[in-house]
């Protein structure tokens, strides 16, 4: 009598292998659904928006009538916002990362800052809007100006930059630091001349990703009072402003159905800018990450 009945074994095995194959297909389809959604979104927005996307749209202000509405104020406003957000968040974020990685002792306080940053990253963006509304608009009475919006966005994306900069600084090999100390350099000289230059590609990549998040943010700007319609361009950071996502939002809320096409055109402009920023980030990462 055979100890193993080959037929039973192969019967059982076949069904298990079949299950595995079915599962693989199901998992694959689930992965593809996300992509299909992305495809539908892109198709829908391109077919709706390309018709309205022309020079008049890029160089015009928004308007009551859908065929004359343009996104100029939004693009310029977003650029102004970034001129506040980028330096603020980069300087504070990188400084925090340097402190945590190079100077801080592994104690309770450092851990506290780390946990705090983690939690800050999980705070809904609209709560940052409430913070900006109270502190800038009401306590400092800045009014609804670019400075208030830019600072609010800067605080919002701060955790993103800190984490990216920390990882980048951590990945600088210790031999470089030791060589620098060996040559008699002090700690700050080592950080400034050796560690930071080596970490710059990673920091820049993180910075650009953080900015591209800031450009797409809508909710906090609604709270700190970005205008939905504006007909003069800001000339300093103390002027009222609007931003691309704010304009898109106001078009989705417009009563005339034709504004759907205007909103789609605005979305194309926003997505193209984001895509550009992201490809710059990828380019920097690919170009510089292989050294060391």
């Amino acid at each position: 009598m055979a100890l193993v009945n080959k037929e039973t074994v192969s019967n059982k095995m076949n069904s298990r292998i079949l299950k595995n194959k079915i599962a693989k297909v199901i998992f694959f389809i689930a992965t593809i659904i996300g992509l299909l959604f992305l495809g539908a979104l892109a198709y829908r927005i391109l077919t709706q928006g390309l018709g309205s996307l022309d020079m008049d749209f890029l160089t015009g202000f928004t308007s009551q009538s859908p065929d004359r509405a343009g996104i100029k104020a939004g693009v310029i406003g977003s650029l102004w916002l970034m001129s506040v957000t980028a330096p603020v968040t980069l300087v504070i974020g990188v400084a925090t990362a340097i402190y945590l990685e190079e100077y801080a002792k592994r104690g309770k306080f450092t851990r506290f800052i780390q946990i705090n940053l983690q939690n800050l990253a999980g705070v809904p963006s609209i709560v940052f809007g409430l913070l900006g509304l109270t502190i800038f608009v009401y306590i400092f009475k800045t009014g609804e100006i670019i400075l208030a919006g830019g600072l609010t966005l800067g605080l919002l994306v701060l955790p993103v930059i800190v984490v990216a900069a920390q990882e980048s600084i951590r990945s600088v090999p210790n031999e470089l630091r030791e060589a620098s100390y060996g040559m008699g350099a002090t700690k700050w000289q080592t950080v400034r001349r050796i560690v930071l230059p080596a970490a710059i590609p990673g920091i820049l990549t993180g910075g650009i990703l953080a900015l591209s998040r800031a450009i797409g943010e809508t909710a906090p700007l609604l709270l700190v009072g970005a205008a939905t319609a504006i007909f003069t361009l800001p000339s300093s950071i103390f002027d009222p402003y609007t931003a691309m996502p704010i304009q898109i939002y106001s078009w989705t809320k417009a009563p005339q159905p034709e504004f759907e096409y205007v909103a789609s055109a605005g979305i194309i402009v926003l997505l193209v800018i984001l895509l550009l920023l992201n490809s710059i980030a990828v380019f920097i990462r690919n170009k510089f990450s292989k050294r060391l």
Binding site: L41, N116, N119, V127, T218
Partner: protein, 314 residues
């Protein structure tokens, strides 16, 4: 160069030490100053948190001087313009969106993670993962627009009595938005499971599916569950999608075909309307904001606790 060297040589030892000390002292000054400046910047993140807490709490306190706490948390009718503050209807709206989103995001996210981590070849993974990540980078205002103008009309064909603004469409799109987050965190957790465990299971004759379900997922469970908690926190705090597609009619209901309002949606509605500073309605957005903040904070802390407490060590 030569003259300076000569000059240097002409100095006595004493003078040289003095000179060195002088230049050292400015270096030393910088060395002592820099860490303090850096610490100042690092403390800023803590200050931001304190600022958030302070603004939320102080304005919320003012609100509760005008409206009873009990009414706020136990009644279900929300109409600030008629002085009715029953936040349960906003909470039920938020939960409705969150539940719908999680029903979409958990299966899709976990299945994508399993496919990418266990089944896909390296080449396929490197192709699919960045495309999935694009989903996470799309601004939420775009998702909101898409929910309103594409998903809702599609659902309308299947469900005839769907309202134009509805929780279902917004919830589905919020779910799709957080799929990449669930997928990448779950994939990280599964990737951290050592290959020896997989090889052991396969050597005993398990198929890939059995290995995944009986070995990899249990080993990675804490990370996977933590990713659910983080995703929930995102869904609770998501603003633009619900502000555009879910409507602005606070209702105490769990029927997703209806128009509802979430906590975030209410804050947007008030802040874009004409509400005067200092009115009860103005303070109400802080009370709602605090409630929202507490909800998301609990989910975030829960995620951190789960991933720390239940992490398997190999």
């Amino acid at each position: 160069m030569v003259s300076s060297k000569k000059n240097h040589d002409e100095l006595s030892v004493k003078e040289r030490i003095a000179k060195n000390k002088q230049s050292n002292s400015s270096t030393m000054f910088v060395e002592k100053l820099v860490p303090k400046l850096l610490l100042l910047c690092a403390t800023l993140s803590v200050l931001v948190t304190l600022g958030i807490l302070y603004t939320l709490l102080s304005e919320t306190f003012t609100f509760f001087n005008q409206v009873s706490v009990v009414e706020f948390f136990t009644t279900t009718y929300w109409n600030p313009w008629r002085d009715s503050y029953g936040i349960l209807s906003l909470i039920s709206g938020t939960l409705l969106i969150t539940i719908t989103a999680m029903i979409i995001a958990i299966p899709l996210g976990v299945a994508s993670a399993i496919f990418l981590s266990e089944y896909a070849s390296d080449k396929v993974r490197r192709m699919l993962k960045p495309i999935l990540e694009v989903l996470a980078g799309i601004p939420t205002v775009v998702y909101g627009f898409f929910a309103l103008t594409f998903v809702t009309p599609m659902l309308d064909k299947i469900i005839p009595d769907l309202s134009f603004f509805n929780a279902l469409s917004a919830g589905i799109v919020v779910g799709v938005m957080i799929v990449p987050m669930v997928a990448s965190l779950t994939e990280d957790a599964m990737g951290a499971v050592p290959n020896t465990l997989r090889e052991g299971a396969m050597a005993l004759g398990s198929t890939r599916l059995e290995t995944t379900i009986k070995v990899v997922i249990p080993a990675a469970l804490s990370g996977i569950v933590a990713s659910f908690a983080l995703a929930m926190s995102r869904a609770i705090g998501e603003t633009m999608i619900v502000a555009i597609a879910a409507g602005a009619t606070p209702k105490f209901t769990l029927d997703p075909t209806q128009s509802i309002q979430t906590m975030t949606g209410y804050i947007v509605q008030v802040s874009t309307g004409d509400v005067s500073f200092g009115s009860t309605i103005y303070y109400s957005i802080y009370a709602v904001g605090t409630t929202l903040f507490v909800f998301t904070l609990i989910m975030n802390l829960l995620a951190q606790y789960i991933s720390r407490r239940f992490r398997e060590e190999y």
